[in-house]
Symmetry: C2
């Protein structure tokens, strides 16, 4: 568990896109953010207060989160100066970078000296159990996609936020590094050892109140041959009561697999639902979440109406039109 609230480190981000992890945290959990800290020449700005380490600490910040991708796979000396100073002033560090904080001797030394923690969220920090398949209390929803990167995390985040706004009991359960940094906790599923994948999801989503919903972050796709095993483990470890089908209608081939076309929403439904019912016979497909970013608003509406008619399920783009239809669909199950 990463200590909140955060001070977001933007470093020398060349542009806004390089700071997308920081942007995600600020967008989805503004209550976890005290401010941002940049280096000279930083081209990103989250539109929140720029603070130095001391004033952010006074405002409560306890973790400096690296919210920016580094260049060339190296943690530069300019970054390290700030990171070590932060450790000396009482901050933990959290990072989703490929090169790990724990592999940097000077950071490890400083963390030991000042009694602070280095969180590398790409690496599992728990010995997960092997899944036992036992039925757990509480409700679970999993977004499954026709492809990778079609909006599964966004869908689950948007639903979780709206459910909490409405006073429902819900938790977003992160399974990827961005989600883990946003919420401060989760399982970096793509880095878990094969035998423990499903068990890590059981661990992530334990027994809960009967009217509590876990919104489990999806990964990969059953139709994406590189990562389908990861998706399968989410379906069986998550034992979802509800599936949300996610799709990006303008994409022609699977991400990174130019020889593979996307399945239809019907194929996704017919494949995912029987598999989900192995672990939870009561599972239902609740709704469809469509990423319409490459369509005009009119085309998007036409497409959503067509999907609703074809599948007999509520369909929306939660980014464009809000997540209400998706949350209503869970309530109607």
């Amino acid at each position: 568990m990463i200590k909140t609230p955060y001070l977001l480190f933007l470093g020398d981000a060349p542009d806004q896109l390089a700071a997308k992890v920081a942007q995600g945290i600020k967008d989805w959990r503004p209550e976890n953010v005290v401010g941002q800290i940049s280096l000279e020449g930083c081209g990103a700005d989250l539109g929140i207060e720029e603070l130095d380490l001391d004033s952010a600490y006074e405002k409560g910040a306890r973790t400096l989160v690296i919210g920016v991708a580094n260049r060339g796979g190296v943690i530069s000396q300019a970054w390290k100066t700030v990171l070590i100073e932060a450790l000396s002033k009482g901050y933990d560090l959290a990072s989703g970078l490929h090169n790990l904080l724990r592999d940097e001797e000077d950071l490890v030394e400083a963390a030991e000296k000042y009694g602070r923690t280095l969180h590398d969220v790409r690496v599992p920090s728990v010995n997960y159990p092997i899944a036992n398949g036992k039925t757990r209390e509480g409700k679970r929803c999993l977004a499954v996609g026709t492809d990778c990167s079609v909006g599964k995390m966004y869908t689950a985040m948007a639903m979780d936020n709206l459910m909490r706004e409405r006073g429902m009991k819900s938790s977003f359960r992160a399974t990827g590094q961005t989600g883990i940094l946003i919420t401060g906790d989760g399982v970096p599923l793509d880095a878990v050892i094969a035998d423990f994948m499903a068990g890590s999801i059981e661990y992530l989503s334990p027994d809960n109140d009967p009217d509590h919903w876990d919104l489990i972050e999806g990964q990969g796709s059953l139709f994406h041959v590189s990562y389908s095993g990861v998706t399968m483990a989410l379906i069986h470890g998550g034992q979802p009561d509800a599936l949300i089908l996610c799709h990006e209608p303008t994409r022609e081939t699977m991400r990174g697999l130019p020889d593979y076309t996307l399945p239809s929403l019907e194929e996704l439904q017919d494949t995912a639902l029987p598999l989900a019912r192995i672990a939870n016979p009561a599972c239902q497909v609740a709704a469809v979440s469509v990423n319409t970013q490459h369509m005009s608003e009119e085309d998007a509406q036409t497409y959503l109406n067509e999907v609703e008619a074809r599948l007999g399920l509520p369909a929306t783009d939660p980014y464009r039109f809000g997540a209400d239809k998706l949350v209503d669909a869970l309530k109607d199950l």
Copy 2:
């Protein structure tokens, strides 16, 4: 790649069952075995020549394979004396034990001193790529089961042996520790990091002659919630042309999951085939392999006849009746 032939170390195995890895090597690859070596009090005997280290080395043995489970998770001093002597005499060591040879300081020291290799086959020794899904030359067959431990490895081994007897081109591709020790090579799939599972199977089963068959060792089951992700990765990474359905008809609940019943062979077929066709649209279900060890011969024959009529597929128990029907089915595809 582990150097063959082997001298099989039986240690102080309390009984025959404790030496089942050694038994598997001797049964499936007798040509890789020079003899056995036991400690005082050993209760296992493979019925092959008992040799000391020197005479086995003279007969060509180059790896001492630990063919026995250890007790209490400790590599005892009595074992180590033999293991270190073997290293000093020019043997590599190979082991599928949970506690790794490489974690034992004295073994590591001796291996360095004598320039020998320690093979811990439970641990991947390769940085596998992420699967690219590209179509590969050659044919591939994968055994998929209604449950774990229903005879998938045995089925693939028996088919491979018969195919080579018949002069067909084939390779058994090991995905578990026993299979790796038997053949000297393979991928310990259950220990691979999630993102690289399918890629490790692409690596294991590369381009080959158009008339060459890889018999890929199956793992887990799509219906076993603890390990289904591993099975999924085998189906997509293996891109099989042929599936063999494996079943144990007297088993009532899934292995280790008392709340889960086994699916029917039809359910297995209907689930596995569409998933396999994502990676290889030409995939077919070729035959059924039934583990009839808990049935009388008459009951077994009746059951196999019934399965053939119900599924319209050849069905046999390769252990009891030979693998001919399974190999014929591949030829008929």
